[in-house]
Symmetry: C2
Subunit: 198 residues, 2 copies
DNA sequence: GTTACTCGGTTAAAAAAGCAACTCGGTTAT
DNA sequence: ATAACCGAGTTGCTTTTTTAACCGAGTAAC
Protein backbone atom coordinates (compact mmCIF):
# COMPACT_ATOMS: atom_id res chain seq x y z
CA UNK A 1 0.00 0.00 0.00
CA UNK A 2 2.91 2.33 0.67
CA UNK A 3 4.99 4.13 -1.95
CA UNK A 4 7.41 1.98 -3.97
CA UNK A 5 10.37 3.85 -2.40
CA UNK A 6 12.57 4.38 -5.40
CA UNK A 7 15.82 6.24 -5.02
CA UNK A 8 14.17 9.43 -6.19
CA UNK A 9 11.30 9.31 -3.73
CA UNK A 10 13.57 8.46 -0.82
CA UNK A 11 15.88 11.39 -1.47
CA UNK A 12 12.95 13.70 -1.97
CA UNK A 13 11.48 12.80 1.38
CA UNK A 14 14.85 13.18 3.05
CA UNK A 15 15.46 16.58 1.49
CA UNK A 16 12.04 17.74 2.55
CA UNK A 17 12.64 16.67 6.11
CA UNK A 18 16.10 18.20 6.14
CA UNK A 19 14.78 21.54 4.93
CA UNK A 20 11.94 21.65 7.42
CA UNK A 21 14.14 20.52 10.29
CA UNK A 22 16.87 23.07 9.71
CA UNK A 23 14.23 25.77 9.20
CA UNK A 24 12.43 24.98 12.43
CA UNK A 25 15.63 24.74 14.42
CA UNK A 26 16.75 28.11 13.08
CA UNK A 27 13.36 29.61 13.90
CA UNK A 28 13.46 28.27 17.44
CA UNK A 29 16.94 29.63 17.84
CA UNK A 30 16.50 33.15 16.51
CA UNK A 31 12.76 33.69 15.94
CA UNK A 32 10.69 33.39 12.80
CA UNK A 33 11.26 36.90 11.47
CA UNK A 34 14.94 36.96 12.26
CA UNK A 35 15.64 34.12 9.84
CA UNK A 36 15.47 34.75 6.11
CA UNK A 37 14.68 32.07 3.55
CA UNK A 38 18.17 32.63 2.23
CA UNK A 39 19.57 31.64 5.60
CA UNK A 40 17.48 28.50 5.57
CA UNK A 41 18.46 27.54 2.07
CA UNK A 42 22.11 28.10 2.89
CA UNK A 43 21.93 26.09 6.11
CA UNK A 44 20.06 23.26 4.40
CA UNK A 45 22.51 23.41 1.49
CA UNK A 46 19.91 23.81 -1.20
CA UNK A 47 19.03 26.70 -3.51
CA UNK A 48 16.18 29.08 -2.88
CA UNK A 49 14.01 27.90 -5.79
CA UNK A 50 14.42 24.35 -4.53
CA UNK A 51 13.22 25.43 -1.13
CA UNK A 52 10.09 26.92 -2.66
CA UNK A 53 9.54 23.83 -4.73
CA UNK A 54 9.18 21.89 -1.51
CA UNK A 55 7.26 24.47 0.49
CA UNK A 56 5.00 27.09 -1.09
CA UNK A 57 5.69 29.76 1.55
CA UNK A 58 7.99 30.46 4.43
CA UNK A 59 5.17 29.79 6.87
CA UNK A 60 4.65 26.33 5.48
CA UNK A 61 8.12 25.40 6.60
CA UNK A 62 6.68 25.42 10.06
CA UNK A 63 3.08 24.52 9.41
CA UNK A 64 3.58 21.51 7.20
CA UNK A 65 3.36 19.42 10.34
CA UNK A 66 -0.21 20.56 10.67
CA UNK A 67 -0.73 20.27 6.94
CA UNK A 68 0.20 16.62 7.19
CA UNK A 69 -2.83 16.16 9.41
CA UNK A 70 -4.92 17.98 6.84
CA UNK A 71 -8.30 16.39 6.29
CA UNK A 72 -7.78 13.97 9.12
CA UNK A 73 -11.11 14.75 10.71
CA UNK A 74 -12.89 14.24 7.41
CA UNK A 75 -11.10 10.95 6.92
CA UNK A 76 -12.04 9.74 10.37
CA UNK A 77 -15.68 10.42 9.63
CA UNK A 78 -15.58 8.74 6.25
CA UNK A 79 -13.74 5.68 7.50
CA UNK A 80 -15.93 5.04 10.53
CA UNK A 81 -17.90 1.81 10.75
CA UNK A 82 -21.52 2.30 9.81
CA UNK A 83 -22.57 1.56 13.40
CA UNK A 84 -20.94 4.66 14.88
CA UNK A 85 -22.01 8.27 14.56
CA UNK A 86 -19.61 10.88 13.21
CA UNK A 87 -19.26 12.60 16.57
CA UNK A 88 -18.47 9.32 18.32
CA UNK A 89 -15.84 8.51 15.72
CA UNK A 90 -14.20 11.91 16.20
CA UNK A 91 -14.45 11.59 19.94
CA UNK A 92 -12.68 8.23 19.91
CA UNK A 93 -10.06 9.55 17.56
CA UNK A 94 -9.30 12.48 19.80
CA UNK A 95 -9.09 10.23 22.85
CA UNK A 96 -6.69 7.99 20.98
CA UNK A 97 -4.60 11.05 20.19
CA UNK A 98 -4.48 11.93 23.88
CA UNK A 99 -3.46 8.39 24.78
CA UNK A 100 -0.45 8.51 22.52
CA UNK A 101 0.34 12.10 23.51
CA UNK A 102 -0.05 13.29 19.95
CA UNK A 103 1.32 16.84 19.70
CA UNK A 104 -1.82 18.02 17.90
CA UNK A 105 -3.80 17.39 21.10
CA UNK A 106 -1.57 19.83 22.98
CA UNK A 107 -0.85 17.07 25.47
CA UNK A 108 2.89 16.71 25.02
CA UNK A 109 5.61 18.00 27.27
CA UNK A 110 8.66 17.31 25.14
CA UNK A 111 10.66 20.52 25.25
CA UNK A 112 10.91 20.61 21.48
CA UNK A 113 7.17 20.25 21.08
CA UNK A 114 6.46 22.92 23.65
CA UNK A 115 8.91 25.31 22.07
CA UNK A 116 7.38 24.56 18.69
CA UNK A 117 3.90 25.40 19.89
CA UNK A 118 5.19 28.57 21.43
CA UNK A 119 6.80 29.51 18.16
CA UNK A 120 3.59 28.98 16.22
CA UNK A 121 1.26 30.80 18.56
CA UNK A 122 3.47 33.75 19.32
CA UNK A 123 4.31 34.49 15.69
CA UNK A 124 1.41 36.39 14.10
CA UNK A 125 1.99 35.35 10.53
CA UNK A 126 2.17 31.72 11.59
CA UNK A 127 -0.91 31.80 13.76
CA UNK A 128 -2.71 33.61 10.98
CA UNK A 129 -1.85 31.11 8.36
CA UNK A 130 -2.69 28.27 10.69
CA UNK A 131 -6.30 29.40 10.78
CA UNK A 132 -6.40 29.10 7.01
CA UNK A 133 -5.38 25.48 7.30
CA UNK A 134 -8.05 24.95 9.87
CA UNK A 135 -10.61 26.47 7.53
CA UNK A 136 -9.78 24.02 4.80
CA UNK A 137 -9.93 21.25 7.33
CA UNK A 138 -13.32 22.46 8.36
CA UNK A 139 -14.63 22.47 4.81
CA UNK A 140 -13.41 18.95 4.24
CA UNK A 141 -15.06 17.79 7.42
CA UNK A 142 -18.27 19.56 6.45
CA UNK A 143 -18.30 17.72 3.12
CA UNK A 144 -17.80 14.44 4.93
CA UNK A 145 -20.67 15.20 7.23
CA UNK A 146 -23.17 15.91 4.48
CA UNK A 147 -24.57 18.88 2.60
CA UNK A 148 -26.07 22.15 3.64
CA UNK A 149 -25.62 24.52 6.48
CA UNK A 150 -26.21 21.88 9.15
CA UNK A 151 -23.12 19.94 8.20
CA UNK A 152 -21.04 23.10 8.15
CA UNK A 153 -22.19 24.12 11.57
CA UNK A 154 -21.42 20.76 13.08
CA UNK A 155 -18.00 20.72 11.44
CA UNK A 156 -17.20 24.15 12.83
CA UNK A 157 -18.29 23.10 16.30
CA UNK A 158 -16.24 19.93 16.33
CA UNK A 159 -13.08 21.66 15.23
CA UNK A 160 -13.71 24.51 17.61
CA UNK A 161 -13.84 22.24 20.61
CA UNK A 162 -10.74 20.39 19.44
CA UNK A 163 -8.92 23.68 19.28
CA UNK A 164 -10.12 24.66 22.71
CA UNK A 165 -9.17 21.32 24.19
CA UNK A 166 -5.71 21.42 22.64
CA UNK A 167 -5.20 24.94 23.80
CA UNK A 168 -6.23 24.09 27.34
CA UNK A 169 -3.86 21.14 27.46
CA UNK A 170 -1.02 23.19 26.10
CA UNK A 171 -1.66 25.92 28.65
CA UNK A 172 -1.46 23.51 31.56
CA UNK A 173 1.79 22.13 30.25
CA UNK A 174 3.14 25.62 29.62
CA UNK A 175 2.42 26.20 33.31
CA UNK A 176 4.93 23.52 34.12
CA UNK A 177 2.84 20.38 34.59
CA UNK A 178 3.73 17.10 32.92
CA UNK A 179 1.69 15.51 30.18
CA UNK A 180 1.16 12.34 32.18
CA UNK A 181 -0.17 14.42 35.05
CA UNK A 182 -2.58 16.34 32.87
CA UNK A 183 -3.75 13.30 30.94
CA UNK A 184 -6.80 12.38 33.11
CA UNK A 185 -8.17 15.90 33.09
CA UNK A 186 -7.63 16.09 29.37
CA UNK A 187 -9.66 12.95 28.89
CA UNK A 188 -12.40 14.23 31.13
CA UNK A 189 -12.51 17.58 29.37
CA UNK A 190 -12.71 15.84 26.01
CA UNK A 191 -15.53 13.60 27.15
CA UNK A 192 -17.48 16.52 28.48
CA UNK A 193 -16.99 18.59 25.36
CA UNK A 194 -17.92 15.85 22.93
CA UNK A 195 -20.91 14.75 24.98
CA UNK A 196 -22.27 18.26 24.85
CA UNK A 197 -22.30 18.00 21.09
CA UNK A 198 -24.66 15.03 21.03
CA UNK B 1 42.75 31.26 -4.89
CA UNK B 2 40.62 28.18 -4.47
CA UNK B 3 37.60 27.23 -6.56
CA UNK B 4 34.58 29.47 -6.00
CA UNK B 5 32.80 26.64 -4.16
CA UNK B 6 29.27 27.07 -5.42
CA UNK B 7 26.56 24.80 -4.13
CA UNK B 8 26.86 22.62 -7.19
CA UNK B 9 30.61 22.10 -6.89
CA UNK B 10 30.42 21.37 -3.20
CA UNK B 11 27.76 18.72 -3.57
CA UNK B 12 29.55 17.19 -6.51
CA UNK B 13 32.77 16.83 -4.55
CA UNK B 14 30.91 15.37 -1.63
CA UNK B 15 29.07 12.86 -3.78
CA UNK B 16 32.30 11.84 -5.39
CA UNK B 17 33.94 11.28 -2.04
CA UNK B 18 30.93 9.41 -0.72
CA UNK B 19 30.91 7.06 -3.70
CA UNK B 20 34.63 6.34 -3.52
CA UNK B 21 34.55 5.87 0.23
CA UNK B 22 31.67 3.42 0.26
CA UNK B 23 33.22 1.59 -2.68
CA UNK B 24 36.61 1.21 -1.02
CA UNK B 25 35.13 0.15 2.27
CA UNK B 26 33.04 -2.48 0.52
CA UNK B 27 36.09 -3.67 -1.39
CA UNK B 28 38.15 -3.94 1.77
CA UNK B 29 35.35 -5.83 3.41
CA UNK B 30 34.54 -8.39 0.73
CA UNK B 31 37.21 -8.10 -1.96
CA UNK B 32 37.20 -6.25 -5.24
CA UNK B 33 35.54 -8.94 -7.34
CA UNK B 34 32.96 -9.85 -4.76
CA UNK B 35 31.39 -6.39 -4.94
CA UNK B 36 29.36 -5.39 -7.98
CA UNK B 37 28.92 -1.84 -9.13
CA UNK B 38 25.24 -2.31 -8.39
CA UNK B 39 26.10 -2.99 -4.78
CA UNK B 40 28.19 0.15 -4.63
CA UNK B 41 25.54 2.30 -6.23
CA UNK B 42 22.93 0.94 -3.84
CA UNK B 43 25.13 1.47 -0.79
CA UNK B 44 26.03 4.99 -1.89
CA UNK B 45 22.38 5.69 -2.69
CA UNK B 46 22.96 6.77 -6.25
CA UNK B 47 22.03 5.24 -9.59
CA UNK B 48 24.42 3.23 -11.69
CA UNK B 49 24.71 5.80 -14.50
CA UNK B 50 25.51 8.42 -11.90
CA UNK B 51 28.28 6.26 -10.56
CA UNK B 52 29.81 6.01 -14.01
CA UNK B 53 29.45 9.73 -14.51
CA UNK B 54 31.82 10.19 -11.59
CA UNK B 55 34.22 7.32 -12.28
CA UNK B 56 34.92 5.95 -15.75
CA UNK B 57 35.51 2.38 -14.58
CA UNK B 58 35.12 0.21 -11.53
CA UNK B 59 38.88 0.23 -11.04
CA UNK B 60 38.97 4.00 -10.87
CA UNK B 61 36.85 3.85 -7.76
CA UNK B 62 39.98 2.61 -6.07
CA UNK B 63 42.67 4.24 -8.13
CA UNK B 64 41.39 7.78 -8.16
CA UNK B 65 43.58 8.36 -5.14
CA UNK B 66 46.58 7.72 -7.31
CA UNK B 67 45.00 9.65 -10.14
CA UNK B 68 44.81 12.65 -7.86
CA UNK B 69 48.60 12.59 -7.69
CA UNK B 70 48.69 12.40 -11.46
CA UNK B 71 51.37 14.59 -12.96
CA UNK B 72 52.80 15.44 -9.58
CA UNK B 73 56.35 14.59 -10.59
CA UNK B 74 56.05 16.75 -13.68
CA UNK B 75 54.69 19.61 -11.60
CA UNK B 76 57.53 19.34 -9.12
CA UNK B 77 60.04 19.64 -11.91
CA UNK B 78 58.30 22.56 -13.53
CA UNK B 79 57.83 24.46 -10.27
CA UNK B 80 61.40 24.07 -9.02
CA UNK B 81 63.54 27.14 -8.51
CA UNK B 82 65.93 27.68 -11.38
CA UNK B 83 68.87 26.97 -9.08
CA UNK B 84 67.99 23.32 -8.50
CA UNK B 85 68.28 20.43 -10.91
CA UNK B 86 65.23 18.31 -11.71
CA UNK B 87 66.60 15.30 -9.90
CA UNK B 88 67.29 17.32 -6.79
CA UNK B 89 63.80 18.73 -6.82
CA UNK B 90 62.31 15.26 -7.11
CA UNK B 91 64.62 13.97 -4.43
CA UNK B 92 63.56 16.68 -2.01
CA UNK B 93 59.94 16.12 -2.84
CA UNK B 94 60.22 12.43 -2.12
CA UNK B 95 62.01 13.09 1.15
CA UNK B 96 59.27 15.51 2.12
CA UNK B 97 56.73 12.79 1.34
CA UNK B 98 58.59 10.43 3.65
CA UNK B 99 58.68 13.03 6.40
CA UNK B 100 54.92 13.42 6.38
CA UNK B 101 54.41 9.68 5.91
CA UNK B 102 52.59 10.21 2.65
CA UNK B 103 50.87 6.97 1.65
CA UNK B 104 52.32 7.16 -1.86
CA UNK B 105 55.80 6.65 -0.38
CA UNK B 106 54.71 3.33 1.09
CA UNK B 107 55.84 4.62 4.47
CA UNK B 108 52.57 4.58 6.35
CA UNK B 109 51.39 2.05 8.89
CA UNK B 110 47.80 3.12 9.35
CA UNK B 111 45.79 -0.09 9.10
CA UNK B 112 43.48 1.45 6.51
CA UNK B 113 46.38 2.48 4.33
CA UNK B 114 48.05 -0.89 4.61
CA UNK B 115 44.82 -2.68 3.79
CA UNK B 116 44.31 -0.35 0.87
CA UNK B 117 47.74 -1.09 -0.54
CA UNK B 118 47.14 -4.78 -0.10
CA UNK B 119 43.87 -4.46 -1.97
CA UNK B 120 45.50 -2.69 -4.88
CA UNK B 121 48.50 -4.96 -5.27
CA UNK B 122 46.73 -8.26 -4.78
CA UNK B 123 43.93 -7.52 -7.21
CA UNK B 124 45.19 -8.12 -10.75
CA UNK B 125 42.86 -5.76 -12.54
CA UNK B 126 43.76 -2.99 -10.14
CA UNK B 127 47.50 -3.51 -10.29
CA UNK B 128 47.21 -3.68 -14.06
CA UNK B 129 45.36 -0.46 -14.39
CA UNK B 130 47.70 1.23 -11.96
CA UNK B 131 50.60 0.72 -14.36
CA UNK B 132 48.62 2.61 -16.99
CA UNK B 133 48.38 5.57 -14.64
CA UNK B 134 52.10 5.38 -14.02
CA UNK B 135 52.73 5.43 -17.73
CA UNK B 136 50.85 8.65 -18.18
CA UNK B 137 52.69 10.06 -15.23
CA UNK B 138 55.93 9.08 -16.88
CA UNK B 139 55.03 10.81 -20.11
CA UNK B 140 54.15 14.00 -18.30
CA UNK B 141 57.41 13.93 -16.42
CA UNK B 142 59.31 13.30 -19.65
CA UNK B 143 57.70 16.35 -21.21
CA UNK B 144 58.68 18.41 -18.20
CA UNK B 145 62.25 17.20 -18.44
CA UNK B 146 62.67 18.16 -22.08
CA UNK B 147 62.47 16.56 -25.48
CA UNK B 148 63.87 13.43 -27.02
CA UNK B 149 64.80 10.03 -25.78
CA UNK B 150 67.07 11.32 -23.03
CA UNK B 151 64.24 12.97 -21.18
CA UNK B 152 62.11 9.85 -21.47
CA UNK B 153 64.85 7.66 -20.11
CA UNK B 154 65.44 9.88 -17.14
CA UNK B 155 61.72 10.07 -16.44
CA UNK B 156 61.42 6.31 -16.53
CA UNK B 157 64.37 5.92 -14.19
CA UNK B 158 63.07 8.39 -11.65
CA UNK B 159 59.64 6.83 -11.49
CA UNK B 160 61.13 3.37 -11.41
CA UNK B 161 63.19 4.13 -8.32
CA UNK B 162 60.23 5.79 -6.67
CA UNK B 163 58.23 2.62 -7.24
CA UNK B 164 61.03 0.49 -5.87
CA UNK B 165 61.45 2.68 -2.83
CA UNK B 166 57.74 2.72 -2.09
CA UNK B 167 57.52 -1.02 -2.54
CA UNK B 168 60.47 -1.59 -0.19
CA UNK B 169 58.93 0.61 2.48
CA UNK B 170 55.59 -1.07 2.16
CA UNK B 171 57.21 -4.49 2.41
CA UNK B 172 58.92 -3.62 5.66
CA UNK B 173 55.70 -2.35 7.10
CA UNK B 174 53.82 -5.38 5.86
CA UNK B 175 56.38 -7.38 7.86
CA UNK B 176 55.10 -5.73 10.98
CA UNK B 177 57.44 -2.81 11.54
CA UNK B 178 56.21 0.68 12.29
CA UNK B 179 56.56 3.59 9.92
CA UNK B 180 58.51 5.61 12.46
CA UNK B 181 60.95 2.73 12.87
CA UNK B 182 61.47 2.34 9.14
CA UNK B 183 61.74 6.06 8.48
CA UNK B 184 65.58 6.43 8.77
CA UNK B 185 66.26 3.51 6.46
CA UNK B 186 63.71 4.84 4.01
CA UNK B 187 65.52 8.18 3.95
CA UNK B 188 68.88 6.49 3.47
CA UNK B 189 67.55 4.30 0.69
CA UNK B 190 66.07 7.32 -1.05
CA UNK B 191 69.30 9.27 -0.78
CA UNK B 192 71.28 6.41 -2.18
CA UNK B 193 68.87 5.85 -5.05
CA UNK B 194 68.63 9.48 -6.08
CA UNK B 195 72.37 10.03 -5.75
CA UNK B 196 72.99 7.18 -8.14
CA UNK B 197 70.99 9.04 -10.71
CA UNK B 198 73.27 12.04 -10.74
C1' DG C 1 11.79 62.08 -2.81
C1' DT C 2 14.81 59.45 -4.99
C1' DT C 3 18.15 55.75 -4.14
C1' DA C 4 19.48 51.61 -2.52
C1' DC C 5 18.81 47.88 0.54
C1' DT C 6 16.52 43.58 2.10
C1' DC C 7 13.23 39.99 1.85
C1' DG C 8 9.63 36.81 0.02
C1' DG C 9 8.82 34.61 -4.08
C1' DT C 10 9.28 33.57 -9.36
C1' DT C 11 11.28 32.48 -13.96
C1' DA C 12 14.14 30.38 -17.67
C1' DA C 13 17.95 27.89 -19.02
C1' DA C 14 21.38 24.58 -18.15
C1' DA C 15 23.52 20.96 -15.32
C1' DA C 16 22.92 16.83 -12.90
C1' DA C 17 20.59 12.73 -11.41
C1' DG C 18 17.22 8.93 -11.88
C1' DC C 19 15.10 5.24 -14.44
C1' DA C 20 14.55 1.63 -17.52
C1' DA C 21 16.17 -0.74 -21.11
C1' DC C 22 19.92 -1.91 -23.68
C1' DT C 23 24.84 -4.00 -25.36
C1' DC C 24 28.39 -7.18 -24.79
C1' DG C 25 31.36 -10.60 -22.81
C1' DG C 26 31.61 -14.39 -19.68
C1' DT C 27 29.32 -18.35 -16.49
C1' DT C 28 26.17 -21.54 -15.37
C1' DA C 29 22.30 -24.77 -16.22
C1' DT C 30 20.02 -27.90 -19.06
C1' DA D 1 24.77 -26.27 -27.73
C1' DT D 2 21.75 -23.18 -26.34
C1' DA D 3 19.26 -20.75 -23.28
C1' DA D 4 19.30 -18.06 -19.03
C1' DC D 5 21.77 -15.18 -16.22
C1' DC D 6 25.10 -11.79 -14.28
C1' DG D 7 28.20 -7.97 -14.32
C1' DA D 8 30.39 -3.77 -16.46
C1' DG D 9 29.17 0.09 -19.04
C1' DT D 10 25.94 2.85 -22.12
C1' DT D 11 21.90 5.30 -24.01
C1' DG D 12 17.65 8.13 -24.25
C1' DC D 13 14.32 10.27 -21.75
C1' DT D 14 12.32 12.46 -17.65
C1' DT D 15 12.62 14.68 -13.27
C1' DT D 16 15.07 17.47 -10.05
C1' DT D 17 18.32 21.06 -8.84
C1' DT D 18 21.26 24.92 -9.51
C1' DT D 19 22.15 29.45 -11.17
C1' DA D 20 21.44 34.10 -12.01
C1' DA D 21 18.39 37.27 -12.88
C1' DC D 22 14.26 39.28 -11.91
C1' DC D 23 9.55 41.32 -9.53
C1' DG D 24 7.19 43.90 -5.96
C1' DA D 25 6.66 45.46 -1.39
C1' DG D 26 8.75 47.56 2.58
C1' DT D 27 12.20 50.56 4.69
C1' DA D 28 16.26 53.07 5.79
C1' DA D 29 19.55 56.90 4.01
C1' DC D 30 20.37 61.28 2.53
Amino acid sequence: MNEPTGLRARKKARTRDAIADTAVSLFLERGFDRVSVNDIAAAAEISKPTLFRYFPTKEDLVLHRFADHQGEAARVVRDRSSATTPVTALHRHFRAGLDRYDPVTGLNDHPQVVAFHRLVFTTPSLAGRLTRYQLEDEEALADALGEGIQARLRAAQVLAIQRVLARANWQKIADGRTARDVHPEALADADQAFNQLR
